[in-house]
């Protein structure tokens, strides 16, 4: 089923009417709005939609509208005869899913929109959080439609409170409340307070109309109500409101249309060559929900003629630079952020402790199930987290080996490994396009080439780089990815010994030439920004093992002192501190809490970010072992780890991370990824029966893609990631343009009757990747898989 676009057309205005409570006059106000719009915009279409109605059918709100606002197109999508909350009224009946209901709403609006300029008022049922038929509350269910809201306030005693709370529930789901309407009431005069409150706090218009006359009997009622509607729909007050709503609609459209140009003139974009860019390349994102952005469909003449939708759903195929875990606009994460903001704002962290920071530290240490990691250091992003890790490791190594301050100490890494954009993190990467032009960049270390894993023609190949074929031998072929990751079986083989010998020999050569190293730093399992390469896990294990047993290599004069932690202590680092940069690969990205588990080893220092906050705000943690921590203890405060940012361990980030970790751990426990773990789905990745390797991307797709040898060099998938290495005639790496055609096809998207949607993806040179969140549904994966097939056939 196609995702649902937000309800926005350039000359068709859709408003959603919410009530602060039940029985506050939603239908009366909506009827007046419909009738007044009909009077004022005579040549335009005016429509009324009640998606869900409860109560006896002959009292239905759309009949009321028919009677008092004749000429207005109207529809009730679901009618339940019980006068109860829809979820209760629908009990025992077949209820549509939220997506089905939203699709029906969209279809109704879309058809009205093709009639040309006009208005549509969508009336909700009960209060903002009254549950819809599926049980989801309306405020959550309708949020993705992002209709501007007319909120009907409660004029009764207590109504001030209800109105403000209802407003807040809408606001924190990203709704824009454009006007608040209330019946005049001389006794409580909620209007006055609400006017002051919403004007000063939120710059929102508050307006009132006289309350309808009290009910007498049905004949009299019809007559006096007719008169009431006649008067009110002609009142200045309601036309002022309609003018206001019209202006706000136009302002939203104008702003969306001008944003690309304005951004192009004022924003300096990250990683963007502006000379090769243009306003047309900028996606205007109006909102995002779940895995989908709502992006602007730029206006064209043809579009104007058919009053095409102004927004379309775009699958966030880079998971917003690899951050998304629990979907955009996730209400639980929002509530967590808001709670911490309300409870603390930000509070100073040095010399202080607050609950979210402590609880998150505990959760992470516990979740890592590591015997080594005991300490949590907070910073703001992956790059700063890596800088902290490097500071930690180099100090520990320098002190243990007794190297003087100022000694030139490098790191050991992987070719193409990338750890962030601050200078210290950049220095951890070998010279490449990313950094070679940066004035202060100074690659400090050595970087191993490594065997990588790809699926080609349905088989899993461990590719040995050409330059290493003499040392390491030929490519190896495996039946399944599980076999590649079956380290127990592979450790006993010749290839493992070959890896270790090669690693040790190379290292000795550098050490013999006088170089010093202070850490092994790598991204476990996947080299991310450096090209989305799946690294042969056996090679990474070999690297860790060699480094850990080679203390004598790193400093030939080294004699373990009796006072320092013994190398027989399994929690203590040996050889060099091993840093795992799990910024990208950790926290369920690959399907497991920690990527280190794939390597069956533990880091001495471990860096986490991106998914940490489920995809909401920046936060990073650097976890360290006690033996690293102890290296910074002395009587001199200048020996401390001198690093800290103003917002270190900011409560908002910690609270959100806590909720994000909790939810992902719950999902794992509840088996919410079982569909993807099923061996039918994950096929030769592993499936339930094997090494617990799985991916949301089906094996069938992978197999098929890997056979498109006319354009595909190889592919792989793990966890939420799908990677396609395109054949490149212009070389591999960042400068290649080989994946742009596929990217462009995905961006052009897919039409399904009235609804068009597309996939917003990022490329890394000749590599295109698509990444879901941890909430991506099987249905969406199937749809996107289809789109990928179409794209590759057309390639």
């Amino acid at each position: 089923m196609a995702p649902v676009p937000s309800l926005l057309w350039r000359s068709f205005r859709v408003l959603q009417v919410y009530g602060a409570n039940t029985d506050v006059g939603k239908t009366v106000f909506t009827t007046i709005l419909c009738r007044a719009a009909k009077l004022r915009w005579r040549k335009e279409h005016v429509a009324f939609l009640k998606p869900v109605s409860t109560g006896p059918g002959n009292e239905a709100d759309d009949l009321h509208v028919e009677r008092h606002a004749p000429g207005v197109a109207r529809r009730t999508l679901l009618q339940y005869d019980l006068a109860m909350s829809p979820h209760a009224a629908a009990k025992g009946k077949l209820v549509p899913s939220n997506t089905e209901l939203l699709s029906s709403v969209y279809r109704f609006a879309s058809r009205r929109a093709t009639h040309g300029p006009g208005w549509l008022f969508v009336e909700t049922a009960g209060g903002v959080h009254s549950p819809g038929p599926s049980g989801t509350t309306q405020a959550d269910m309708y949020a993705a439609l992002r209709c501007p809201v007319v909120l009907i306030a409660d004029a009764k005693l207590g109504g001030i409170s209800l109105t403000i709370s209802a407003f807040e529930s809408l606001k924190l789901r990203g709704y824009d409340v454009e006007a608040i309407l209330v019946f005049r009431d001389g006794k409580y005069d909620n209007e006055q307070y609400l006017r002051d409150y919403f004007t000063s706090h939120h710059s929102i218009t508050v307006a009132s109309l006289p309350a309808p006359p009290p009910r007498v009997d049905s004949d009299t009622d019809t007559e006096v109500m007719s008169q009431y509607y006649e008067e009110e729909s002609n009142s200045t007050a309601i036309h002022k409101i309609l003018d206001h709503l019209d202006r706000r609609h136009q302002a939203r459209i104008d702003r969306l249309d001008s944003m690309r140009g304005d951004a192009y003139r004022q924003i300096w974009y990250p990683f963007t060559q502006h000379k090769l860019s243009s306003p047309e390349n900028i996606a205007v994102i109006d909102s995002a929900r779940g895995d989908f952005f709502q992006t602007l469909v730029p206006e064209t003449k043809e579009a104007r003629d058919i009053n095409q939708p102004a927004l379309q759903p775009s699958f966030d195929g880079s998971a917003s630079w690899w951050t998304q875990g629990l979907g955009h606009g996730n209400p639980s994460l929002t509530m967590s952020a808001a709670y911490a903001a309300g409870r603390y704002g930000h509070v100073m962290f040095a010399g202080a402790i607050h609950e979210p920071a402590l609880a998150l530290a505990e959760k992470l240490l516990h979740g890592m199930k590591s015997t080594r990691l005991t300490r949590v250091f907070y910073s703001d992003n992956g790059s700063t987290g890596v800088e902290v890790a490097v500071k930690m490791a180099l100090r520990a190594a320098r002190l243990r080996y007794g190297w003087a301050a100022g000694t030139d100490i490098g790191i050991i890494g992987l070719r193409g490994g990338y750890h962030g954009d601050t200078i210290g993190a950049m220095d951890c990467a070998e010279p490449s396009t990313y950094n070679e032009n940066i004035e202060w960049y100074n690659g400090r270390g050595i970087w191993y080439e490594y065997p990588s894993v790809k699926c080609v023609r349905g088989r899993w190949i461990v590719e040995i780089p050409d330059a290493l074929k003499v040392e390491l031998g030929d490519d190896q072929i495996f039946e399944s990815l599980s076999d590649v990751f079956d380290l127990g079986a592979r450790r006993s083989k010749q290839r493992h010994r070959t890896y270790e010998e090669y690693i040790e020999l190379t290292l000795s050569r550098y050490l013999d030439s006088g170089r010093k190293f202070g850490a092994l730093l790598m991204e476990p399992v996947v080299v991310g920004a450096g090209g989305m390469e799946l690294v042969d896990p056996l090679f990474q294990c070999a690297l860790v093992d060699v480094v850990r047993r080679s203390a004598k290599l790193f400093d030939t004069r080294y004699q373990p002192s009796t006072s320092e932690p013994s190398s027989s202590d399994p929690t203590c680092w040996s050889g060099l501190p091993v840093i795992f940069d799990e910024v990208f690969t950790g926290l369920y990205r690959l399907g497991r809490f920690t990527a280190s588990s794939f390597l069956e080893t533990e880091a001495d220092v471990s860096v986490h970010a991106k998914l940490l906050t489920g995809g909401l705000v920046p936060l990073s943690t650097t976890l360290a072992s006690e033996s690293i921590f102890k290296a910074f203890e002395s009587e001199d405060k200048a020996d401390a780890l001198l690093h800290g940012h103003s917002y270190t361990a900011h409560p908002v980030g910690c609270q959100v991370a806590l909720e994000s970790m909790r939810q992902m751990q719950e999902m794992e426990k509840r088996g919410e990824w079982d569909w993807a773990k099923d061996s039918d789905w994950s096929g030769s990745l592993g499936g339930k029966t094997k090494a617990n390797l799985w991916s949301i991307w089906p094996w069938e797709l992978l197999d098929w893609v890997s056979n498109q040898v006319h354009c595909v060099a190889g592919t792989w998938a793990l966890g939420s990631i799908l990677v396609v290495h395109m054949r490149a005639t212009d070389g591999t790496g960042y400068k290649s343009n080989a994946a742009l055609k596929l990217q462009s096809f995905l961006r052009d998207g897919y039409g399904d009757g009235e609804v068009r949607w597309n996939v917003h993806s990022r490329v890394l040179g000749n590599v295109l990747y698509i990444m879901g969140s941890q909430k991506t549904t099987k249905d969406d994966v199937v749809e996107i898989s289809d789109l990928i097939r179409h794209a590759l056939v057309a390639h």
Copy 2:
């Protein structure tokens, strides 16, 4: 008036009863809770407090409690006879301020607590957002008390919605809702939905009791109600709830008591020598509101005996590492964060645009009133913002001067200048305690010593460092700080020429020795982390002027090409790009939108963070001129500015920053700092009549402190900052301990009858500073000023 502590005692449980709506049974439930507590904890005190009651006095809720829960201590603080919302009922009457009302609540609770173990139930009026007497809604007004909440749900039609919204309004103000109670209702059965909802979404207990019998007449009512209360206060349901509340209270206390130890074992603190630290040095922060933390008062035997409060207000005297602008727990910032979280979560920024990022960019560019700055680059914190700035400037300089890639290019800065903790930012600072032990640190540049400004014995002195007295002459004395900042008058004087000659001569010496520089980088007006020095603004101006006119010095072969922006273009950089690190000094910290205005000059690159988000979440912007931006344009995508973090321009941060900027600009426009600008208050700083220099710290205090020559070396204040340089016998700088005694006195705090409060401050070696937010009140400044006087007298 002393700030109000949160209501927490170790063996005295205070609960606040809120209603999802008016008329949902708050009083009935509270009465049952009181009566049941009295039954169960026979030896303990049970009390009832209605801070504000409306409606005829003889129907008052505390009389109801008296009748049906005899033996419970009870009090109504304010009684208004009209049955309306308190703000309306109080109209025309003298109403207490929020702080006065909270103080009364605190005093009542505090006196009850001294009776020993017990319970206090505080019943609110109407719904959660019903306005209190002052007009502030109760949810906002009572938030600082941080009482755990019993929320009474609404059992009527529509009640599900009202209950969830009321809960959300509380949650986003940092309340912990511990239980939700509702009357049983067979018709709508809201209970069932709410139970499922709150259990699965929030792990909150939902329980129900039978509704009270319907009212008949007053005699019968009394009797049947008595029976009802008798039954319900003995019911298993209510005792389960009390047990639950009791356990939650105990868990909160236990957690607070163990947090210091747990943190000490698991957290690796920034800038902290753990060996010199201990659990006792860790402040446990339960919450924060406005300028005050609520910090744990550790348990002592004496405290146990008198049931001392477990929390006390602590003035956040470092403005939480210089971040706080609009106060902790600011509801507007919370709503902004929640709105953006709900609307977008985070969305990918490269190649995309969203409203908060664009609007913030526009607001900043507009607010800077700069003719140069046209571009906004987003990153996560001051340190990354500076790295971006340096990358920008060095590239622009290298290309203009035609230096090869790989050329060793440094920056020009100020001694003690500090720009952040990532390696690239560290490299901008001269070797010092902060960085000299960092393995990869490599100071790249030269750093000028500079004349600094202090108030000593009531007079303003521009101190020339001893080493420069030969070149620059003796200290200068000024009548007022305004005179020091009167650059128009000072530029024409000899001292200005002396500064320029010295700067130029020094620079030539370095350049002659073959060094190359790519930027002038400094913190305008105040060197922050490097020791809170107020720099002579004339010296900074001279530095900028010399650098800008010295293109020929920086590269003797340089010939401006006709194709490049002419040096006569006033928006184009000349000599070297000038970077202002306004991370600390910008955005109203010193009283003005930009610190560059004090220097009457504009930067080519300007970095902002800290106050940018009003003190809530990390975000940084690096603003640049078009001539810097153009340096990165080419046909090669690798020539782009290759920097970007995952959460670049995260919508939550941008939206909060937008609101924060808006509020501060509004405050300025509305003259909300006029009290501090008054010349009586700001005295020889400047005041309204002079150069618009002002500080929240009164001149009278400054004058007095500057005369405490037995322990004070000098002082200054500007904007929200107060700095005291203590006389040090152990040298100045980071390693000195000279300010610790004063810090400790401030931490010991101040007793005002029942309420104790203190000041949480940070020291930088021999310097102690106290920093308010942009919302700090005159009253609080007066109180803290008193405390400072006491401390210095005792010193």
